[in-house]
């Protein structure tokens, strides 16, 4: 009907209508509200913005938010990596059930995860009471933030790695083995190099999710300024005090970080897809 495209005629109708609907809806629900934040940030004097964004309490919150997110993502790369490997390569009882459970952090509301982890790791909780004997405190410390963010980021590494591991060509491994490589050598020289893009993507996804996370952290962190206060919590506190300028400055910093991460992840995913397409068959 319509010949909107330059190169090929479009047999299917509805392109204009549906694209228009998509753009309108996305603008109303997501883009215009986000634009309001950007405009708000631009309306504040740069001095004021800089002051609010670099206040000692803000700096402490970035350190915790980004530091704990990096730590949690790293923990997830190690244990999520092992989990993905085991789920793809080995057969053992309850494998299917464990595989399905990996998505629990996606499905479980963050507030529910938050109160549950707090009760588990507080000094009289199921886990916290044993750790207390070892003089390890988790709830209401930065370590608690790491625990919550590890929970939240767990599925990202596993779910990014699994399809890549499934597609891995066993012939390359067999070739390496038949050429005399030990198992460890094969893993390090043959398998791991193919996994790097997926591992990096999973790490970035888990990190991006953790940086913005709020619900699962606020309960276990205790929100002590300068010590266990994450940036989203600080934004929240400023909003409650009607300090819109301060909240906007912090939100601008977080948005900047999020966009940078989003672009990084897109790049990583393209790299991973290229790798997979090249090695697939």
């Amino acid at each position: 009907m319509s010949w909107t495209g330059k190169r090929q005629p479009r047999v299917l109708p509805g392109f204009g209508l549906f694209l228009g609907l998509t753009l309108t809806y996305l603008s109303l629900v997501v883009l215009i509200p986000l634009l309001a934040l950007v405009i708000k940030a631009l309306a504040i004097s740069p001095q004021r913005l800089w002051q609010a964004a670099t206040a000692p309490q803000a700096l402490a919150s970035y350190r915790l938010s980004f530091g704990a997110s990096l730590t949690a993502a790293a923990v997830n790369v190690v244990f999520g990596g092992i989990l993905a490997w085991v789920l793809v390569r080995y057969r053992f009882p309850l494998r299917r059930l464990i595989d399905a459970l990996v998505d629990l952090p996606f499905a479980l509301p963050t507030a529910v995860a938050g109160i549950t982890l707090t009760s588990l790791y507080s000094t009289n909780g199921w886990i916290g009471r044993y750790l207390a004997r070892l003089d390890i405190e988790v709830a209401y410390t930065p370590l608690g933030v790491v625990v919550a963010l590890t929970f939240v980021g767990l599925p990202f590494v596993v779910r990014t790695l699994q399809p890549v591991l499934e597609d891995l060509d066993s012939e390359i491994e067999e070739a390496a083995a038949s050429l005399g490589a030990g198992r460890w050598q094969t893993i390090r020289r043959v398998i791991l190099p193919e996994l790097w893009p997926a591992l990096a993507t999973g790490f970035a996804l888990a990190f991006a999710r953790a940086v913005g996370e709020y619900g699962s952290v606020v309960f276990i962190s205790g929100n002590k300024p300068f010590r266990t206060e994450i940036t989203p919590q600080l934004i929240y506190a400023k909003l409650e005090m009607y300090d819109y300028a301060g909240a906007t400055a912090l939100a601008a910093v977080m948005l900047g970080a999020s966009f940078a991460l989003l672009l990084t992840i897109n790049g990583l995913q393209r790299w991973a897809a290229r790798r997979q397409a090249a090695f697939g068959d």
Binding site: F15, T22, L26, K40, P105, T110, Y214, G280
Partner: protein, 297 residues
């Protein structure tokens, strides 16, 4: 020092297998299962254990409390409004993006993903900046006695923002992988646009759509951060289930908090079950495979 080394090389060749030794395998499985038990299974058990700590009557009392029921009602209403809207958006976006190629296509996909990159607190905050008392439209809304922030519309808007990509994300790769051949055939045979969509495209992507709906619903009912910013925490009025849980927990009513939480935990288990069934019914297209199919002329 190094003179003894060459001798030890020989045994390495005796196991050229392409798998690890049994000990390593068992060890890795133990680590993985231990990690899952500690981080996933134990919390899940803890939710239900604490919900039923004081017996079934106390559990039922906590859930049938008028404020809890009001919170459940608000959560259900919010999901009932948000999920269909995002489903329609998802279908429209998937049709336009999955079935056609145009300039700015990948930019649009990135824009749809934006809400995932934004912290939930910021997602709520943008609506406070727009509609709050001191926001852009605050004076106008006040003059006309319209309440958005600290009222249900704010809750719905924040939830819409956060869950916006979920259906679209499931459907776009699916429609892209399915291509346009069947639709073209239908069009050539004289089907109208809507007929093609309802009879060909929709049935073909029904499992993906259902999967997106399930995910969107779970997220809509479980959203906390964004909703927390805009709701104002008015007991029995603007408190959703998650906000009610927070309230009870902060009041040291642990049993009550976990009783309401157990309902959401149950929902997440149903979601996981549905996901497993749907993935088995219709495997999701993989990025690598999709790429290859699209390159075909």
């Amino acid at each position: 020092m190094s003179s003894a080394e060459p001798l030890s090389v020989a045994p390495a060749v005796t196991r050229p297998a392409t798998t690890e030794s049994a000990i390593v395998r068992v060890l890795l499985i133990a680590v993985a299962v231990g990690f899952v038990a500690l981080f996933l299974i134990l919390p899940l058990v803890a939710i239900f254990a604490q919900a039923f700590e004081r017996g079934i009557p106390a559990y039922l009392r906590a859930i049938c409390d008028p404020e809890a029921l009001a919170a459940i009602r608000l959560t259900l209403w919010t999901a009932a409004l948000v999920v269909p809207l995002n489903a329609l958006f998802g279908l429209a976006a998937a049709w336009a993006i999955g079935k056609f190629t145009f300039r700015g296509r990948s930019v649009l996909i990135t824009l749809i993903d934006l809400p995932f990159a934004v912290s939930p607190v910021i997602a709520g905050m943008v609506f406070v900046l727009l509609f709050g008392q001191r926001g852009w439209l605050g004076p106008f809304l006040q003059a006309h006695d319209i309440r958005i922030i600290f009222a249900m519309p704010g809750v719905v808007l924040a939830t819409l923002f956060v869950t916006c990509p979920l259906v679209a994300r499931e459907l776009i790769p699916l429609m892209e992988a399915q291509g346009t051949e069947e639709e073209q055939a239908a069009a050539v045979l004289g089907a109208r646009g809507w007929q093609t969509f309802l009879r060909v495209t929709l049935p073909n992507s029904r499992w993906g759509l259902l999967y997106g709906l399930v995910l969107c619903n779970a997220r809509a009912m479980g959203e906390f951060g964004a909703v927390s910013v805009v709701s104002g925490h008015i007991r029995g009025v603007t408190n959703t289930m998650t906000l009610h849980i927070e309230l009870l927990y902060n009041e040291y009513n642990t049993t009550g908090a976990f009783a309401v939480a157990s309902l959401l935990a149950l929902l997440s288990l149903v979601t996981l079950g549905a996901k497993s069934v749907l993935e088995w019914k219709a495997p999701r297209p993989r990025p690598g495979i999709r790429r290859r199919q699209r390159q075909q002329p």
